[in-house]
């Protein structure tokens, strides 16, 4: 395909996150494999890349997750219907799996796999769920001749009312962005936690940009396109260990930044040689000396480093599921059909489940048909249970008179009779006994919740003994 040939970008997919903020779900399930609409999160990233026309991808993970990731990537992913239907027309995407040292930063990981990266590269993380084609991004990166393109989306407050406790959490994850409105060039991208109450804007930036917008409601998707020379920078600068926290801010800050040396050098020679704005270079023969091997000094020249942002259009759904709240949102988006590939992949199963639901409905007219449900295979639901806005995995058994509202239920879950669950996340192999009333709860895998539990805002951790622990 035409698209496949023009993509000289190398995608690197980080699937080694521990997902500490998704506790307790990730107690024994890898973050990348958490189900979103009954598909592992990794599927969405892989499929997005494949659909965009990449012919190969590198999945970077850590040894402890290597087995489960490679199992999924090699065994299950190719069997997915959506993938198969695409592979009828296009050659399959080759997936390499690399494992790096456990517990290192993303930039360190990049440094380890650096030798395998032949060209400009795309970095994304497996917890990024979007229904989007990357072609536009890559085109923008090329046309703007950027060193770095970051993807941002505008955070529209979710309709669902948020807990006050969560709200604090969310604001801590905000990014403060300084962006020029026309070209979408960014001059600051820092998480609000790192910012003291003041924002300084240097005169260089003001001089080159007549208009800037400082925004607090743009969020970083952790999807970056880098120029190849950034690897050179990484190789030389060992202090950088994280992409988001160090490398990106470093590059963003380096724009228009002149090192001391360059400044004095400019003073010596630059007086006769004016800066050539059309070509974005200094019109000095000396510049030829500054080639790739001096990539770091390139970062010191005016306007050598250029960081742009791509703002996702509002209709595109994109979220990072790195907190429980966002994990819920992503699943809800699946239910609402905002993620198209989620449906296209399971067209058949979905219809079956809906047929079933309709059958049930005809059997017991109590159940309303308008609820959105996403059900896996082999789910048994008793009559008289009410399900609303739920994602239910494979092989689940749901008892009688059960009320589920906005729940995410993974595979092999048993829910006893007369349970009432609201906004809960129940991991695989859990057993919720009779007459439980849970609200905003989440569980680790294989947890048994005893009968008659009535709790709110709890998370049930992994069980060491037979009895459960409040976390």
């Amino acid at each position: 395909m035409a698209a496949a040939q023009c993509l000289d970008f190398y995608p690197i997919l980080f699937a080694g996150g521990t997902g500490s903020r998704l506790h307790p779900l990730t107690d024994d399930l890898t973050k990348a494999l958490l189900p979103v609409g009954n598909k592992p999160a990794l599927f969405y990233s892989l499929y997005m890349l494949e659909r965009s026309g990449f012919t190969q991808v590198m999945v970077v993970t850590v040894p402890s997750q290597l087995a489960s990731i490679s199992n999924y990537v090699y065994e299950q992913y190719p069997l997915d219907k959506a993938v198969q239907s695409r592979r009828i027309h296009a050659s399959p995407m080759v997936i390499h799996i690399k494992s790096v040292t456990e517990g290192i930063g993303t930039a360190d990981a990049l440094r380890e796999v650096e030798s395998c990266i032949p060209s400009d590269f795309v970095v994304l993380s497996a917890d990024f769920i979007a229904d989007w084609d990357l072609i536009g991004l890559l085109e923008q990166h090329r046309t703007s001749d950027a060193s770095l393109t970051v993807v941002l989306y505008e955070d529209i407050p979710f309709k669902q009312e948020k807990h006050t406790t969560l709200k604090d959490n969310v604001s801590a994850l905000e990014d403060v962005t300084l962006i020029s409105p026309i070209h979408h060039r960014i001059f600051m991208l820092e998480s609000s936690a790192d910012i003291e109450d003041e924002v300084c804007i240097s005169s260089h930036i003001l001089k080159h940009n007549p208009r800037l917008i400082l925004k607090r409601n743009l969020r970083d998707c952790h999807l970056y396109v880098f120029s190849h020379w950034v690897l050179e920078l990484l190789r030389r600068n060992l202090a950088i260990s994280s992409i988001k926290a160090e490398l990106v801010p470093f590059l963003v800050r380096r724009q228009y930044h002149l090192s001391k040396r360059c400044r004095s050098w400019q003073k010596l020679v630059g007086k006769q040689h004016k800066y050539n704005y059309e070509k974005d270079t200094l019109d000095i023969p000396l510049i030829t000396e500054y080639r790739w091997e001096k990539a770091i000094h390139w970062t010191s020249f005016p306007d050598i480093v250029r960081c742009y942002a791509m703002l996702l259009p509002r209709k595109v759904f994109a979220r990072r599921m790195h907190t429980l709240e966002w994990y819920r949102q992503v699943n809800e988006a699946c239910l609402k059909g905002w993620i198209a590939c989620c449906f296209s992949m399971g067209q058949e199963t979905k219809r079956i489940s809906f047929d079933r639901a309709e059958e049930d409905k005809s059997a017991s007219s109590k159940r309303k048909s308008s609820q959105r449900l996403l059900m896996g295979q082999d789910v048994s639901i008793d009559d008289q249970s009410e399900l609303k806005d739920c994602v239910i995995g494979d092989h689940c058994q749901i008892g009688q008179r059960v009320k589920l509202n906005g729940c995410i239920v993974m595979d092999h879950v048993l829910i006893g009779n007369d349970c009432n669950l609201q906004n809960c996340i129940i991991s695989s192999n859990c057993h919720v006994m009779e007459r439980c009333k849970l609200k905003h709860c989440s569980t680790a895998a294989s947890v048994t919740i005893p009968a008659d539990t009535i709790v709110k805002d709890e998370s049930f951790g992994k069980v060491q003994d037979s009895d459960f622990l409040f976390n």
């Binding site: 910012i195 109450d197 924002v199 300084c200 010191s300």
Partner: protein, 689 residues
């Protein structure tokens, strides 16, 4: 209009017709000639301003000017016959615009009771303010706290400013110097930020504000406010407590449709003139200005030529030209990109380019004027050359074959007051007698010479180079420094009016000019600093004490740290001696001495230019005293080690020196050190990256 009739139904405007500055002088040196009357394409600025106010349906306008301008303005305004009530507020005691506003507030008869338009001196705009006023009033209706709407143009010409505003238009940051960073504080705490802050840089503060009457009250309470921008800055910098819930709206004018800027100096005056010709201020153009009496014919180019204009057959009129009424262009004259006023005679073979010539001037044969401003009633005799950036004031007569150097300003020492009754012939007669060669004049008013009317003096103006906008303050410093080194000391106020002869070959002799009284004052100051430091040196004060003493002196005498440095460094150098020692002993001694006193030097050598001066002075010192020569590079290194000189400073000085004199001994002596510096920097920047 219903919206306006909140109080007494009339929209008022307050218009400043006085610049309260001397940037436009000369041509506006004359006491009776007002800056507000500078012609833009042969129509006064004031006329444009009033016209624009009339469009905004202003019924009453208070014109503020100093006492001496009142008659001139009154006379002018009477000729206009506008349908607008024009009132004058004058006083001879104002120093700054804020004084005038305070006075306005105290005058019950003139003070606006409702929201009013405030036009600042030199504002030239074609924006229809009616819409802006309407918006302002609508905002006021919603909340009384929107006390001020400030109009900001999108292209910066003279009054560049940077603002940050919230999405609702509230200005939260205003700065008009680009020296430092813009700091936006409170980003995490203020809830309004959630939608984002817009930052505009390089906006033109065009001096148009819609004010609520409350603003005047603020001026009454704060005596330090010089103008309305101080109000904005005071409010914003004061934070929430100062703001008292008041909000300032920043109205960004559309970049394409609205033309607005401020004339504050010659540069912006030229800009406005030519922008007007280029029709950027559409719908107002030269031929279509609504109240114009003169009929201009618009031709391609664009050229605007009146019907009463005489053009010789062989003359050439190039692009972007305006020729006023009764103007005569003789054979073989070339006029390109220029504005020629009314009743101007341009002789044969004249060449005029990029220039503005006001009315009633006479250019005789073969005169060249490039990039200059010629005021009214000027006579340029045969074969004159007026170079780029020159300004020739009214009634000046330039002799034949004079070559006026670049960026000079020529004014008459005593200006004949402009009178309509002036007899042209007698004037000519007097002017004829005026002989350039014999004139060396004082600006001082007390000198009485009989023919003082025709004495010309040359104004000195700092040269504008291409980087002037970035480093204007540095230029100024450099200028003062140059002045100081050349002629020992010259008072700053007197600087502009430095008296020199007009003959170019005598220009170089200006340093020999006599000392004016303020110089002695300066001398006293120097003496005091010198004494203080001398005492500190002799009595072996610790350096910290010396710094304290000098600082106290600095505050008391109101001088800058550069001034102090210029006194103390020579003293330190004098303390060094090299007699009767071996080289090693000398260096040891110097190291100890400078280590000891380096704290004082670093304290007062804050600016990079001070470093340059230091090097220059040391070089000259070495040139004077050959014994010291071999220590030149040593002391520079020593000062670098003591953090007095920065590496940038040394490198820059060397490059400057290189240009001036490539064979300089000192430069060569310093070269190894500079190379070492550059290499060291290279490695350090590598580490840093």
């Amino acid at each position: 209009m219903a919206a306006y009739s909140t109080n007494d139904g009339t929209l008022k405007a307050v218009l400043f017709a006085d610049f309260f500055s001397e940037k436009l002088r000369p041509p506006c040196t004359d006491e009776t000639f007002c800056e507000a009357l500078v012609p833009i394409a042969n129509v006064s600025l004031l006329q444009y301003q009033l016209e624009a106010l009339l469009q905004a349906e202003v019924k009453e306008c208070v014109i503020i000017c100093r006492e001496h301008l009142r008659e001139t303005l009154k006379k002018f305004v009477q000729t206009l016959n506008f349908d607008m009530k024009l009132l004058f507020l004058t006083s001879s005691q104002w120093v700054v615009a804020g004084d005038a506003l305070r006075e306005l507030d105290s005058r019950g008869d003139l003070r606006p009771q409702s929201d009013f338009i405030l036009i600042f001196p030199g504002a030239f705009f074609t924006v229809n303010l009616a819409g802006v006023v309407k918006e302002h009033l609508a905002r006021r209706e919603r909340s009384k706290s929107w006390v001020l709407t400030s109009c900001l143009g999108q292209r910066s010409i003279s009054c560049s400013c940077d603002i940050a505003r919230l999405e609702n238009g509230q200005v939260i940051q205003y700065s008009n110097d680009r020296k430092d960073k813009m700091i936006i504080s409170g980003i995490m705490t203020m809830t309004e930020y959630s939608s984002g802050v817009e930052i505009f840089s390089g906006l033109e503060d065009c001096g148009i504000d819609i004010c609520a009457p409350e603003v005047l009250v603020e001026f009454r309470e704060n005596f330090d406010y010089d103008n309305i921008r101080d109000f904005i800055r005071g409010k914003i910098d004061g934070g929430e407590g100062e703001l008292l819930g008041n909000q300032i709206y920043g109205h960004i004018l559309s970049g394409s449709a609205d033309f607005a800027c401020r004339i504050t100096d010659m540069e912006s005056y030229f800009y406005v003139c030519f922008a007007f010709i280029h029709r950027w201020s559409y719908p107002w153009t030269v031929e279509r200005f609504p109240f114009r009496t003169t009929q201009y014919e618009y031709r391609r180019g664009p050229k605007y030529i009146t019907s009463s204009c005489y053009l010789a057959r062989s003359s050439y009129i190039g692009r972007c030209t305006v020729l006023g009424e009764n103007t005569r262009i003789d054979e073989n004259a070339v006029i390109v990109h220029s504005i020629i006023g009314d009743n101007v005679t341009i002789g044969p073979k004249c060449h005029i380019e990029d220039s503005v010539i006001w009315s009633n001037s006479v250019l005789k044969c073969n005169v060249t004027v490039v990039g200059a401003l010629i005021a009214d009633n000027v006579i340029l005799n045969d074969d004159c050359v007026i170079s780029e950036g020159c300004i020739v004031d009214s009634f000046v007569v330039v002799n034949a074959k004079t070559h006026v150097a670049q960026y000079s300003r020529i004014v008459l020492q005593r200006h004949p007051y402009r009178k309509d009754t002036i007899d042209e012939n007698s004037l000519f007669g007097k002017m004829e007698s005026f002989n350039l060669e014999s004139n060396l004049f004082h600006r001082n008013e007390t000198t009485t010479q009989d023919d003082s009317m025709h004495h010309c003096i040359l104004w000195q103006e700092e040269r504008r180079n291409s980087e002037a906008d970035e480093e204007s303050s540095i230029d100024e410093l450099e200028e003062t420094e140059r002045k100081e080194s050349e002629s020992n000391a010259m008072d700053e106020d007197n600087r502009e009016a430095a008296e020199v002869d007009m003959a170019p070959d005598l220009l170089s002799l200006k340093s020999s000019s006599s000392l004016s009284p303020p110089t002695t004052e300066r001398k006293l100051i120097r003496q005091e600093i010198r004494d203080t430091f001398q005492r500190a040196l002799e009595e072996q004060h610790p350096p910290e004490t010396a710094v304290l003493e000098l600082n106290a002196l600095k505050l008391a005498l109101d001088v800058t740290s550069s001034h102090i440095l210029r006194v103390i460094f020579p003293l330190l150098l004098d303390k060094l001696d090299i007699q009767g020692h071996t080289q090693q002993q000398v260096t040891q001694q110097w190291i100890l001495f400078f280590r000891h006193w380096s704290g004082v030097l670093t304290k007062f050598c804050a600016h990079s230019l001070d470093g340059m001066w230091l090097l220059k002075y040391w070089k000259e010192y070495c040139e004077r005293l050959p014994n010291y020569r071999k220590y030149f590079s040593f002391l520079v290194q020593l000062l670098y080690d003591c953090d007095v000189l920065s590496e940038d400073c040394i490198i820059e000085w060397v490059s400057d020196e290189d240009k001036a004199n490539a064979q300089s001994v000192f430069k060569q002596q310093l070269m190894p050190f500079v190379q070492w510096l550059q290499e060291a920097e290279e490695t350090s920047s590598e580490n840093e990256a």
